[in-house]
Amino acid sequence: MSNAPFIYLNGVSKAYGNNVVIKHADIMIPKSGFAFLLGSTGAGKSTLLKMITGEIKPTRGQVYIKGQDITKWSKSQKAAWRRKIGYVFQEDRLLDYKTVFENVALPLEIQELSRKKIKEKVNAILRVIGLGNRSRAYPHQLSGGERQRVSLARALVANPELILADEPTAQLDPPTAAEIFNLLVSLNRTGRITILMATHEWELVEKTNLPAYFIKDGSVRFWEGIR
């Protein structure tokens, strides 16, 4: 299934007891594509992202990753898939007792890379992200923008096939938010990394020429962007 979309959610729904979070969603993202997942807080954006990572199973429908149904994967297959994903969160989820270097190194440690390789890769990504001189700092010593850049460095360090960004700019001031967003777009265009970005900022979606999936009342609709 080489022509299969990179990510394909086929008629998925999700309910927790009587609470239906997602009624129906069809989402298709090609390899190296960029898409927004737009919806208000609590609309179900994170639920859809968790279905893509395999953390939760849909109540109905299938989630295909490169043509394979993730709901049929074993735990170790799901873990292997997660190692190919880079995550950027709204609240950066940096570990306060680890330095910038150690935080960024975490995905590489999980992949059991050698100490030397980890050092090379982490220092390289920190230089790219503009934090080469902050590797020994602790998260509480960084500004909000710097923290989010560290989070982005952690997402990128293991050369991911997919970046899932969950409201990555929500807690940042407008210039820093724009900087982080531009960085994501440039990674998609130059690095050919597939990116799915959840956001509640309609203005951001409107400004860009990128497709988006809107979630409203549990239903998902596609918007192709300005062509």
Binding site: K75, S76, R82, I85, Y87, I110, E112
Partner: protein, 289 residues
């Protein structure tokens, strides 16, 4: 899992212990005390076993015979390690030797030696004594059997009681150790929860996640057993030196005779309990595939 990852996990386990120092110290002290109590009980049990075995081994069965003749059946009785046939003359000599003041008097007034021939027997195992006595009593050549019956039963009962009590104490204390280690590990898990959730999201294997906790429990158990052994060996050294002078007639175990066994058993027990306790503590996160 690669060696470098293993080393990293040991480092994480040690840093976990350091990060919640309070509960680490509390667990360390509790496990050490439990191991010290177990160690002292093991030494007491060993000494009681040595003492009772020594007493039982010196117990003699005396079988008095109807006629003054050797009985082949007694000499070939199973479970007997040593036998001495005592003629009436030898018995008389034994008695006069035992009572030197009256010896000549006895010989003067007695025209005939009234003493019976007998066998002095030693059993291979003190537990066999009652059975041997029953067999002897059943023989027509045997008139009467004398042995330390009451003493044998009491000593054997004492051995059994201490063995049973020791088993119960071992069960209670090892359960306590497991509970303490498991609870410490649960606390450690709770403290590290944000990191664990992140690791899971980043695709860490279950073994990668629980590995540091297993090391944490194992190191805790090992360190506690080292501390407990230091306390036990130092205290027992003082006791053994004192006992050798104060009660030289009692065969207490020397420090040298128990040292290596105690160190080996202590380290294995402490470390194993630490490992099992940590597995217990993180069992719900244990790899299922």
């Amino acid at each position: 899992m690669k060696a470098a990852t293993g080393l990293r996990q040991i480092g994480k386990g040690l840093s976990n212990l350091w990060r919640h120092k309070g509960s680490t110290v509390a667990a360390f002290v509790t496990v050490t005390i439990a191991l010290v109590v177990l160690g002292f009980f093991a030494l007491t049990w060993l000494n009681v076993l040595t003492l009772t075995s020594s007493l039982l081994n010196n117990l003699e069965i005396r079988a008095f015979l109807v006629k003054n003749q050797r009985v082949n059946q007694i000499e070939t009785l199973p479970g007997i390690t040593q036998f001495t046939f005592i003629t009436p003359e030898m018995a008389m000599k034994e008695m006069t030797d035992s009572y030197p003041l009256y010896g000549e008097y006895f010989q003067g007034i007695l025209t005939d030696n009234p003493l019976q021939a007998s066998y002095a027997l030693k059993a291979e195992d003190s537990q066999l004594i009652p059975e041997i006595v029953e067999k002897l009593k059943a023989m027509p050549e045997v008139d009467e059997v004398i042995y330390g019956g009451q003493a044998t039963d009491t000593l054997l009962n004492l051995q059994r009681f201490i063995g049973g009590f020791g088993f119960l104490l071992f069960f209670i204390l090892t359960t306590a150790i497991l509970l303490v280690v498991a609870n410490t590990l649960r606390l450690s898990f709770a403290i590290r929860k944000p990191e664990i959730l992140l690791e899971k999201l980043l695709g860490a294997s279950p073994l990668y996640i629980v590995g540091p906790f297993l090391w944490e429990g194992t190191v805790l158990g090992f360190l506690s057993s080292v501390a407990a052994l230091l306390i036990i060996l130092t205290s027992y050294n003082s006791f053994a030196s004192w006992a050798a002078q104060a009660m030289p007639y009692l065969p207490f175990r020397t420090l040298e005779s128990v040292r290596y066994g105690l160190i080996t058993a202590g380290l294995i027990l402490g470390t194993t309990m630490g490992l099992i306790g940590s597995i217990w503590g993180v069992r719900r996160y244990w790899p299922k595939e």
